[in-house]
C-alpha cells in the first residue's frame, strides 16, 4: 500500500517541479509576438473584466466612477457627449445654442431614436428626465438642475432656462445626465431600488442579462440610428483580483481589463502576443492633505516648508516608474482644459529647512523639530488598500524626516480614514486628523466649480474643502469664479485660483498617474482613449455615422 503511495507522490512531485519550471519559462518566453498587421475594428463577441459589481446600470443604481458610469452610458444616452479629447459633441441633441449670458440652452433633438423596447424617443422624455432628477435628487445629475427655471419644448427642440448663469452647464450637466424613458420611469417611485428592468435606454447596447457580482451581458442595439455598434455581444465579467484578470487576458478569456495595469507590468504585458496597451492621461489626483484649521497647519509657512521638502519627481519616478505626471501646485492637471501650465512644484529641502528655522522650529534631541513647545511629529493616514498611496506615504515619511518633521504612516480601512478626514462626506462636520493621503477622482477635473469647491469656506460652495482651509484671499477668488457668466471669464478666474493655490498650499498635489489599460489587440483594437478617463466608453464601441 505504502509503496504505491510513494510512487504516486514522486510522480506528483515531478509534475509539480516540471510545472514550476514551465511556468517560469512561460513567463520569460512568450514575448516574441508576431507583428500582426490586422487591427480589427469590429468584433462579434468581447469580454471585459471589471474589478467589482457595477450595480444595475440605471442612472440611480450604477456604481459611480469609472467604469460604472461608462458601462451605464452604453445603455443610456445623454443629450451631448464628450469626445476622446473631452470636447462637447452632439448625441441625442443635434446641436447646442447657448445664450450670451449662459442662461438659456437650446437643444434640437433627433427624431429617429427609439428606446430599447421599441417606443419612440421624444422631447417629452427629456422634460420628464429633468423633472424626475429634480424630484429624486439623490444622484449627482440633480445638483446642477436646482438652477433650472424653465423647460420649454418647441418642434422637437428643448429650451432650458436657468435662474443664474452657468457657463459649464453643457459640459457638467448636458453631457453627463442620462435621459430616462418616461414610460418606464414614471412608474418608479423609489429610484434607489430601480430594478434591472428599468435599464431601458436609447444607447448603442441593451442590457440583455445581469448576474449580480458575476456578469453583464450586453447586446448591440442594431436599430441605433446615431452609429453602428462595433461589437455584437459584450460580456462584462467581475474579477476581483487583478492578477487573475491579467492572466485571463493572456489566455484570451478576457479582451480588456477595465482597471489600470501597474506601471511595472506594462512592458511585460505588451510583449505578450496579441496584447496591446491603451495609454493616456488620468485626471485622478493624489494629494497630501493637511488639517488646515488645526495648529500648526494653520501656518502657511509650515505648509510651504513641508511642500518644498517633498520630491514629487521622485514619487512619480519611483512609484509610477515615470508613468505619470508630477502634481501641479495649482491642483489642475496640466492636460485638463484651463490648466495653468506655468505652475511647477519646487523641491528644495534647504529652503524647507530654512523656512522651518525661520518659524522657530529648532530640532530637538531626537532630531525632530519642536514648534511652540510641541514636536513636529504627526500621524499620516492612508487607505490600506491603495498600494500607490501607501508607498507615497512611506516615501514622504522618508523625505520629511530629512528636514526634521516626523510622520508615522497609519494604514487603515478606507472608511476608517474617511470618518476622520471627511465624516459623512460633509465638510461642515469637521475633521480629526493631522496629515492624510487623499485623492480626487477624474470627475473633479471636469468643472472649474470644483476648483472653488476645494477651498471655499461656505460648506455649500466648498463641498470638497476637506482640509478646512479658511483663507480670505482664496475665498474671494473662489467667489469670483462662481459668479462668472461666460466660459472664458470662468477659465481666467480658474487660472487665478490655481496660482493662489500654489502660493497658499492648503494641500500638496503630488501626482496624477498615467492611465494604462491592457487589451487584446488581435480581437478588437477599436479602443479610443478618452483623455483623463480610459478606453472603455461609448466612443470606442460605436462607429458614429457621418
Amino acid at each position: 500500500m505504502s509503496h504505491r503511495t510513494r510512487r504516486r507522490r514522486m510522480y506528483t512531485l515531478r509534475l509539480l517541479a516540471a510545472g514550476l519550471l514551465l511556468a517560469v519559462a512561460g513567463c520569460a518566453g512568450d514575448g516574441a509576438g508576431s507583428p500582426a498587421a490586422k487591427e480589427p475594428q469590429t468584433a462579434s463577441a468581447l469580454t471585459i473584466a471589471v474589478g467589482g459589481d457595477q450595480g444595475t446600470l440605471t442612472p440611480y443604481t450604477y456604481r459611480t466612477g469609472y467604469p460604472g458610469y461608462h458601462l451605464m452610458s452604453l445603455v443610456f444616452d445623454t443629450l451631448l457627449v464628450l469626445d476622446p479629447s473631452n470636447q462637447v459633441t452632439p448625441l441625442l441633441a443635434t446641436g447646442l445654442t447657448t445664450s450670451a449670458d449662459s442662461r438659456v440652452f437650446t437643444l434640437p433633438l433627433r427624431t429617429d431614436v427609439s428606446w430599447h423596447d421599441g417606443e419612440a424617443f421624444t422631447a417629452d422624455d427629456v422634460v420628464f428626465s429633468i423633472d424626475y432628477y429634480r424630484k429624486h435628487d439623490s444622484v449627482r445629475f440633480a445638483s446642477a438642475l436646482a438652477a433650472v427655471e424653465d423647460v420649454q419644448v418647441r418642434d422637437a427642440t428643448v429650451v432650458i432656462t436657468l435662474d443664474k448663469p452657468d457657463p459649464e452647464f453643457p459640459v457638467r450637466q448636458l453631457a453627463d445626465m442620462p435621459i430616462l424613458a418616461r414610460h418606464v420611469w414614471s412608474g418608479i417611485t423609489d429610484p434607489q431600488k430601480a430594478p434591472v428592468s428599468a435599464a431601458v435606454g436609447t444607447g448603442p447596447y441593451r442590457l440583455a442579462g445581469y448576474e449580480p457580482e458575476r456578469r453583464y451581458e450586453l447586446t448591440a442595439n442594431t436599430a441605433y440610428p446615431i452609429g453602428k455598434p462595433r461589437v455584437d455581444k459584450l460580456s462584462v465579467s467581475v474579477i476581483p483580483q487583478q492578477q487573475t484578470a491579467l492572466a485571463a487576458l493572456r489566455t484570451g478569456e478576457v479582451h480588456l481589463v477595465a482597471d489600470e495595469v501597474p506601471p511595472n507590468l506594462t512592458d511585460q504585458l505588451s510583449a505578450q502576443q496579441g496584447v496591446k496597451m491603451a495609454t493616456g492621461s488620468n485626471f485622478s489626483s493624489t494629494l497630501l492633505v493637511f488639517n488646515d484649521g488645526k495648529a500648526p497647519f494653520d501656518r502657511v509657512e509650515l505648509r510651504q516648508a513641508i511642500s518644498a521638502a517633498i520630491d514629487t519627481r521622485d514619487l512619480v519616478d519611483t512609484i509610477l516608474l515615470g508613468q505619470g505626471t508630477v502634481g501641479s501646485p495649482g491642483f489642475w492637471h496640466p492636460e485638463a482644459p484651463g490648466a495653468d501650465t506655468s505652475l511647477k512644484h519646487s523641491y528644495d529641502p534647504a529652503a524647507a529647512a530654512a523656512k522651518l528655522d525661520a518659524l522657530g522650529a529648532a530640532p530637538g534631541a531626537d532630531g525632530v523639530r519642536v514648534l511652540d513647545g510641541k514636536p513636529l511629529s504627526f500621524e499620516l493616514l492612508v487607505y490600506a488598500d491603495s498600494p500607490d498611496r501607501v508607498r507615497a506615504a512611506e516615501l514622504i515619511t522618508e523625505m520629511l524626516g530629512k528636514v526634521g518633521v516626523k510622520t508615522t504612516v497609519r494604514a487603515m480601512d478606507a472608511d476608517s480614514v474617511d470618518v476622520k478626514v471627511w465624516p459623512d462626506f460633509d465638510v461642515a462636520k469637521g475633521r480629526d486628523f493631522d496629515l492624510a493621503m487623499w485623492g480626487w477622482s477624474a470627475t473633479t477635473m471636469t468643472a472649474y466649480t470644483k476648483l472653488a469647491g476645494l477651498v471655499a469656506t461656505d460648506p455649500k460652495a466648498g463641498s470638497l474643502n476637506v482640509t478646512g482651509v479658511v483663507d480670505a484671499e482664496l475665498d474671494t477668488v473662489a467667489k469670483e469664479l462662481l459668479a462668472t457668466t461666460a466660459l472664458a471669464e470662468r477659465q481666467a478666474a480658474a487660472g487665478r485660483l490655481q496660482q493662489l493655490l500654489a502660493q497658499k498650499t492648503p494641500f500638496v498635489t503630488l501626482y496624477y498617474p498615467a492611465g494604462a489599460y491592457a487589451y487584446r489587440g488581435d480581437v478588437f483594437a477599436g479602443w479610443a482613449y478618452q483623455q483623463g478617463w480610459g478606453p472603455l466608453n461609448k466612443n470606442s464601441l460605436v462607429a458614429r455615422h457621418g
Binding site: 505504502s2 503511495t5 510513494r6 507522490r9 510545472g19 514550476l20 514551465l22 511556468a23 512561460g26 513567463c27 459589481d53 450595480g55 444595475t56 443604481t61 456604481r63 459611480t64 466612477g65 435628487d137 439623490s138 444622484v139 449627482r140 440633480a142 445638483s143 423609489d190 434607489q192 431600488k193 430601480a194 430594478p195 448576474e211 449580480p212 457580482e213 456578469r215 451581458e217 460580456s235 465579467s237 467581475v238 474579477i239 476581483p240 483580483q241 492578477q243 487573475t244 484578470a245 492572466a247 485571463a248 493572456r250 489566455t251 478569456e253 478606507a414 472608511d415 476608517s416 474617511d418 470618518v419 471627511w422 459623512d424 462626506f425 460633509d426 461642515a428 477622482s441 463641498s463 470638497l464
Partner: protein
C-alpha cells in the same frame, strides 16, 4: 459529579438534556442575532458612499439626509432593531443598499456556488486526509510514514492564495487546460454546461483540498497511532482477528471521533471562509458577497450573510454534539451511569 451519581430514569434525563441543549442554542442564537445587527453599525464609516455613489460629496446635505432616511437609518437603533426582527420573522432580510436587490435573493444566488465549492472540497479533503492519516498512523515512526507526513505538511503549509496564483499561472496560462476565473462560461447548455461548471471547479477545489488536508491528516494520524496500542486493539490482535478487520472495526471507529468534530467545524467555518479562494478565482460565493458588503457598509447584506454564517456554524456544531454519542456509545453511557 452530580449527574454521574444520580440514578435518574434514562429517558427523562435524555429529554431534559436535549431541552437544556436546545435552550442553550436558542440563547446563543439570540446573542448572535444581536451581534449581527450591531456589528455592521459599529464599523467606522457608513453606507453613504454605497447609497449616494462615489460622488456623494456633490449631494447637498438635504439630499444626503433624504437618502439616509429612505433606508430608515435616521431612526434610533432600537427601532431599527425592532424592524429587523419583525422582517426576519417573515424571512425578509431587507434590501441591499447596493441597488436595492433583496438580500434573500442575493444569498440564494451565492449559496449554491458556495455549497458546491465548499461541499466538494471538504468531502474530498476529509476523504483524502483521513485516508493518508490512517496510512501514516499505522506506519508512524517508519520511513514511509514520515515521508508522507512531511509531504502533506509541506502542502498544508502553503497559503491558499499563493498556491492559487501559481495554479492559475500553470494550468490556466501556461497549459491553457483550465479556465482561470468564474463559475461558468457564457453559451453552454445541457451536458456541456455541467462540464463547464465542473472545469471551473477544478482549480478552486484543488487548492482548497491541497491546502486543507493537513488538518484531517494530523488528527487522524494521531488518533490511529494512539489507538494502535489500546488494550482492545491488542486483544483483538491477540484473538487472531485479521489485521484488516482489526483496523476497520476497532481502530478506525474510535479514531474517527475527533475527525468528525473537525469535519463539522470545517464545514461551518468554510461556508464563510472560502473567501481567499473565491477572491483569487473570481468565484461568486458567499465569502465574496460578505466581503463586498463589508467594504460597502451594506448593512442589510452584512446582516443577512452574517446570519447565514452564524446559523450554519451553530447547526453544524449542534449536529456534531448530537451525533457524538452515535459514534462513541461510551459517551452516551456517561450521562446515564
Amino acid at each position: 459529579m452530580t449527574v454521574a451519581s444520580r440514578p435518574a430514569p434514562a429517558r427523562i434525563g435524555l429529554a431534559r438534556a436535549a431541552l437544556g441543549r436546545a435552550g442553550g442554542y436558542v440563547a446563543v442564537f439570540a446573542v448572535a442575532l444581536t451581534i449581527t445587527f450591531l456589528l455592521p453599525r459599529a464599523l467606522p464609516g457608513g453606507p453613504l458612499r454605497t447609497l449616494g455613489g462615489g460622488e456623494v460629496g456633490d449631494l447637498d446635505p438635504a439630499a444626503r439626509a433624504k437618502v439616509v432616511a429612505a433606508y430608515g437609518l435616521d431612526q434610533p437603533l432600537h427601532v431599527q432593531f425592532g424592524r429587523y426582527l419583525r422582517d426576519l420573522i417573515r424571512l425578509d432580510l431587507g434590501e441591499s443598499f447596493n441597488g436595492g436587490r433583496p438580500v434573500v435573493e442575493a444569498i440564494r444566488e451565492a449559496l449554491p456556488w458556495t455549497l458546491l465549492l465548499v461541499g466538494t472540497s471538504v468531502l474530498l479533503t476529509a476523504a483524502v486526509g483521513v485516508l493518508l492519516g490512517v496510512i501514516a498512523g499505522l506506519r508512524r515512526g517508519r520511513g514511509k510514514g514520515n515521508l508522507l507526513l512531511a509531504g502533506v505538511l509541506l502542502f498544508d503549509a502553503a497559503p491558499a492564495f499563493w498556491v492559487g496564483m501559481l495554479c492559475i499561472l500553470f494550468f490556466g496560462v501556461h497549459l491553457g487546460v483550465l479556465p482561470t476565473f468564474g463559475v461558468t462560461t457564457a453559451g453552454h447548455t445541457g451536458l456541456a454546461a455541467v462540464g463547464d461548471v465542473a472545469s471551473h471547479l477544478v482549480l478552486p477545489v484543488g487548492v482548497l483540498v491541497a491546502t486543507g488536508i493537513g488538518q484531517f491528516f494530523l488528527v487522524t494520524r494521531f488518533s490511529v497511532a494512539s489507538a494502535l496500542h489500546a488494550p482492545h486493539v491488542e486483544h483483538a490482535h491477540a484473538r487472531g482477528i485479521p489485521h484488516r478487520r482489526v483496523v476497520a472495526r476497532h481502530l478506525l471507529r474510535p479514531a474517527l471521533l475527533p475527525v468528525h468534530t473537525q469535519l463539522m467545524m470545517e464545514l461551518g467555518w468554510l461556508v464563510g471562509g472560502a473567501l481567499v479562494v473565491e477572491t483569487v478565482f473570481a468565484y461568486p460565493g458567499l465569502g465574496r458577497l460578505t466581503f463586498d458588503a463589508i467594504q460597502g457598509r451594506d448593512y442589510p447584506t452584512m446582516q443577512g450573510t452574517f446570519l447565514t454564517l452564524t446559523v450554519t456554524v451553530l447547526v453544524m456544531n449542534a449536529l456534531a454534539d448530537l451525533t457524538y454519542p452515535l459514534l462513541d456509545p461510551r459517551i452516551r453511557a456517561r450521562g446515564r451511569s
